[in-house]
């Protein structure tokens, strides 16, 4: 970018935009007085959590708000064109040709009954009036441009026959093939695996480089922003709170909310022993019910009297603005929204002598046979089997946390459910406190049930909406701990206080609580009967970033107090590395590596772990590196590759040995890491020793 910002052409200009939704006769503002300006060739990130108004803003630019929404005030100009003055016919001309959208969920955006190629052709023909022949050639060209393997074959496929990553690439092709002036991306990688996300982000960056297209990238994921965006606008509760270049924003945020967001994400290398995650107190205000004055006032650690008046957008330096009265003080580092780090109290010293392992998982495999079709039955084909988990071995020590990291299809949820008794294992054994654990839930007695509890991903589903919070919490107490109703009632109050919820919540219904609060109740319920092992399956994945930190802190505290063991499952390596005492990386049903978090960043690494580590977008743009791209998609557990499960995508493939023989478990003498690979650890260390994650690409 050789031109300075003001010299480039303005693609999109939004001025004092206010958008409101109608609900029960009232107009609730989702976006208030937001202004921003996107220039040609610039990628503009729009960051916010739920309720921030970012999606509304994107829809408003598209003029696609639906009946309930209305633009109450402000202007939107696309170049010279006043978008708000267009009628329906003119809008239709703008859509797809001047403004394109890559939506969040490609699965639901592609027509399931048309072949992929045909859909692309349809767009081309409609927007550029090409002949069928020309359109088909162009379509193939674009499929190639988005780096789809074998474009001709993909064009013949239906959307459900290709993976999520491939579908999203098709959507990108469809959006860019009309060479729009403005490209809007609405959380395009949220539903994709981390390793796929990397590839897509790079692709987007590549395709728009050198073009005059303006890009609006809407996301809640701060770290992704550092990978792709030149500038960032941060939205909170309908208002723009900060706007700056990516570099400036992350090196020195000038708004307490931005500071809070950045601080609440655990970074690779942070562990629970070294730092406490900074959580933003309180909740995101519901739409239409924002605090008066500064919208962030009620949650801000440095709010003062003047904050009761709404701050204007203060110019805060070279092309940046901040909506905080105290921005200058923050800039001068006179105040900070950063909390001092509080290191965790020294670990419990485990007594000498043999303690029974809390959990021993021995060689478990979980296979699901698929139902055979009639033709299969007739032809005597054996049933296909989904090999979700294959001979997995691990132990969980008393009072310790084992983190299980994997992407979708890795089998991590299946393992959790098998331990809990919700799925049956096909082979292997599980021991709880050195006693064999019965397979089926119905065979486990109450004492055993009390020892094992689980918190799942979706807090909205975790509680029965017809029962009060108190009812839901009383059950395990009365059933597993054998308390009477009165005893249980007082314990319920205690539990609520432990998870930092007011005791009055005991009479509320789940529908009246937010996602974060519901998850706290679910955690309280799991800890209620004081289990030995608590399984947490993606407990923070569906929560807002500002809430995640408080939940992680909570889990940490509770575990420390109760001294139970945790099995923490997530796709997010940074979070797992933060919380766990031991990390196990799983891919396609087999463990790839077991390592302590402190050793995680040091070589040797399993090639898959290496790829995972490099694909974590760092919330620190100065360390933007070139991540490893894994070729292809994660194979389906039905068609499990022979030999090493990772061989089909391994960038360090040795040769035939990897495709035919199952790798050995190698133990690194120094760190005690266990790696499931054919490549000798010495070699791996040598190859990987120059890599510092986030800086340079690895040498092959």
């Amino acid at each position: 970018m050789t031109l300075t910002r003001s010299e480039k052409r303005t693609i999109l200009e939004i001025n004092e935009l206010t958008v409101a939704y109608q609900h029960a006769g009232e107009w609730l503002e989702a976006v208030r007085d937001v202004s921003l300006c996107i220039h040609g060739g610039e990628t503009y990130g729009l960051v916010g959590e739920s309720g921030s108004g970012k999606t509304t803003l994107a829809l408003a630019v598209l003029r696609y708000l639906g009946k309930q929404g209305s633009i109450r005030n402000g202007e939107i100009h696309l170049g010279d064109l006043d978008l708000l003055a267009l009628d329906d016919g003119e809008l239709r001309q703008v859509w797809g040709s001047s403004i394109s959208l890559v939506p969040q969920n490609p699965q639901s955006s592609l027509n399931p009954s048309l072949r992929v190629g045909d859909q692309l052709v349809e767009t081309l023909r409609h927007q550029r009036s090409l002949s069928q022949q020309d359109a088909q050639t162009q379509a193939l060209k674009w499929l190639e441009k988005v780096r789809l393997p074998d474009p001709g074959l993909v064009a013949e496929r239906y959307p459900h026959q290709i993976s999520g990553g491939m579908q999203q690439r098709v959507m990108i092709a469809m959006a860019l093939c009309t060479e729009p002036k403005l490209l809007i991306l609405d959380e395009p990688t949220t539903n994709l695996d981390v390793t796929t996300q990397v590839v897509i982000l790079d692709l987007i960056g590549e395709l728009i480089q050198g073009q005059e297209t303006g890009v609006l990238y809407v996301t809640h994921n701060l770290a992704v922003v550092t990978q792709v965006c030149d500038r960032v606008a941060v939205l909170y509760a309908s208002e723009l709170v900060e706007d700056a270049s990516t570099q400036d924003l992350f090196s020195k945020p000038l708004h307490p909310y931005t500071q809070g967001l950045i601080e609440s994400i655990p970074r690779l290398g942070d562990t629970k022993g070294s730092i406490q995650l900074r959580a933003i107190a309180g909740q995101i205000p519901p739409i239409g019910d924002v605090p008066s004055g500064c919208v962030f006032r009620t949650r801000c650690p440095i709010a003062i009297d003047v904050c009761e008046t709404r701050p204007p957008l203060y110019p805060a330096g070279d092309s940046r603005i901040s909506r905080c009265h105290r921005w200058h003080e923050i800039d001068q580092m006179e105040v900070s929204a950063r909390q001092p780090t509080r290191s965790r109290i020294a670990e419990h010293i485990s007594p000498n002598g043999e303690q029974p392992q809390t959990l021993k998982v021995n060689d478990i495999s979980v296979h699901f046979p698929l139902q055979r079709s009639l033709s299969d039955l007739v032809r005597r084909q054996p049933a296909k089997v989904v090999r979700a988990v294959n001979e997995v071995n691990f132990n969980v020590k008393p009072g310790k946390t084992l983190g299980l990291v994997g992407e979708s299809g890795s089998g991590k949820t299946t393992i959790a459910r098998t331990i809990m008794g919700l799925e049956s294992k096909t082979s292997g054994s599980i021991e709880l406190l050195d006693l064999p654990l019965p397979d089926k839930l119905s065979n486990r007695d109450l004492d055993t049930l009390r020892l094992l509890q689980m918190v799942s991903q979706n807090p909205e589903e975790a509680l029965n909406p017809y029962l009060t919070i108190g009812d839901s919490l009383r059950r395990p107490l009365m059933r597993l701990s054998g308390l009477s109703k009165t005893q249980a009632d007082s314990r319920v109050v205690e539990l609520l206080q432990t998870v930092l919820l007011p005791p009055t919540y005991a009479d509320r219904l789940p529908g009246q609580l937010s996602g974060g609060e519901l998850q706290r109740v679910a955690i309280a319920r799991a800890f209620a009967a004081n289990p030995e092992l608590l399984v947490l399956d993606e407990p923070v994945s569906s929560l807002d970033v500002s809430v995640q930190a408080s939940i992680l802190n909570l889990v940490n505290e509770l575990q420390y107090e109760h001294e139970n063991s945790l099995l923490f499952i997530s796709h997010d390596l940074a979070i797992v590395a933060y919380l766990a005492d031991l990390i196990a990386v799983i891919y396609l049903g087999s463990l790839m590596e077991i390592s302590a978090p402190g050793d995680l960043l040091q070589p040797p690494h399993h090639p898959y772990t290496e790829a995972l580590l490099s694909s974590i977008p760092l919330a620190d743009p100065s360390r933007r590196g070139t991540p490893i791209h894994l070729e292809g998609d994660i194979p389906h557990p039905v068609d499990l590759p022979s030999g090493c499960p990772f061989h089909s995508r391994c960038p360090r493939l040795l040769g035939e040995i990897c495709t035919t023989q199952i790798p050995p478990w190698q133990i690194d003498a120094e760190s005690g890491k266990q790696i499931f690979c054919h490549i000798p650890l010495q070699e791996l260390s040598t190859f990987q020793e120059h890599i510092v994650f986030g800086e340079t690409s690895y040498p092959r």
Binding site: H23, T56, L480
Partner: protein
């Protein structure tokens, strides 16, 4: 995550008294004109069924030969039939018979259907397959046909009609309940209950039933209207009823040969059947809106 504020969910919180709930329900039903009409009609008929002998001016089989074949008049509001029976009284008294029979039959069908539906939905596997496939075969036959077949074997008293209604409508209630169970069963809180060691019956009744009630109440109302119609149809075919019972369907049948002479004797019982079925259906529609 939603951008619209979370309204209170459709759960009815900690249980208020039955009367309060009923009056709340009535108020909601009367909020919309169409369901108000339906509810009013239904209630009037129920009232007629309850108060029957008290408001009917004549007995159900009271024959006044001298006043036969008279059109509606202040004395005989609905006129008299060809035998000299007051049509109005017969309609009112017939309400009792049909509504009670339909009501009890529906209640039993709903109770048993729910039990089967809960079992099938929750257990899955062979129990589910067994129950549902049996019910599928019953459902494959039109209700009337099935009723006739059953009555042929079971005999022709009022009790057999009751049994027939129950058998005919259990399958569909079971199917509806089962689908609710299937939707609720995989949810987190059911698993949490299982992990707490709750027994299957407790899970079914404490966790799952609250979800079943809304759908079930609407389905019950609809079944009720179908049952009424079924009884009327059976009456028309002179099956399961003995003349001179004031069964509306039977009344229609008896009036047919004399339709040109005493059209009112045919019109009013037919209108009664139509009206009550429409009324109950409109009320069921209103219920459905309230529940969702």
């Amino acid at each position: 995550m939603t951008t619209v504020p979370k309204t209170t969910n459709n759960a009815r919180g900690v249980a208020p008294s039955l009367w309060r709930r009923l009056s709340l329900l009535l108020r909601k039903l009367y909020a919309r004109p169409i369901s108000a009409i339906g509810t009013t009609i239904t209630l009037l008929f129920i009232l007629a069924a309850i108060l029957g002998p008290l408001i009917a001016p004549y007995g159900e089989n009271e024959i006044i030969a001298s006043e036969a074949r008279q059109p509606p008049s202040p004395v005989h509001w609905f006129g008299t039939d060809n035998l000299g029976r007051d049509v109005f009284s017969r309609v009112i008294l017939g309400a009792r018979e049909i509504l009670v029979l339909a009501g009890v039959g529906t209640l039993l069908a709903v109770v048993f259907g729910t039990i089967f539906g809960l079992l099938a939905g929750y257990s899955g596997g062979w129990l589910d397959e067994g129950i549902m496939r049996t019910f599928d075969s019953l459902l494959a036959l039109p209700a009337l046909l099935l009723a006739l077949l059953l009555l042929g074997t079971v005999g022709q008293s009022q009790y057999s009609v009751l049994i027939v209604i129950v058998i005919v409508y259990i399958p569909i209630v079971a199917r509806v309940v089962r689908s609710v169970v299937l939707a609720v069963k995989p949810q987190g809180f059911v698993e949490a209950a299982r992990l707490t060691g709750e027994s299957q019956p407790r899970i079914l009744f404490r966790e799952i039933m609250p979800f079943v009630y809304p759908t079930l109440s609407v389905e019950s109302a609809v079944r009720f209207s179908y049952a009424i119609f079924l009884i009327g149809s059976l009456g028309f075919l002179r099956v399961g009823v003995q003349p001179p019972s004031p069964n509306w369907g039977l009344m229609v049948k008896e009036a047919r040969p004399f339709a040109s002479l005493v059209p009112w004797a045919l019109f009013f019982p037919a209108a009664a059947i139509s009206l009550v079925v429409i009324g109950v259906n409109l009320m069921a529609d209103g219920l459905k809106r309230i529940m969702s």
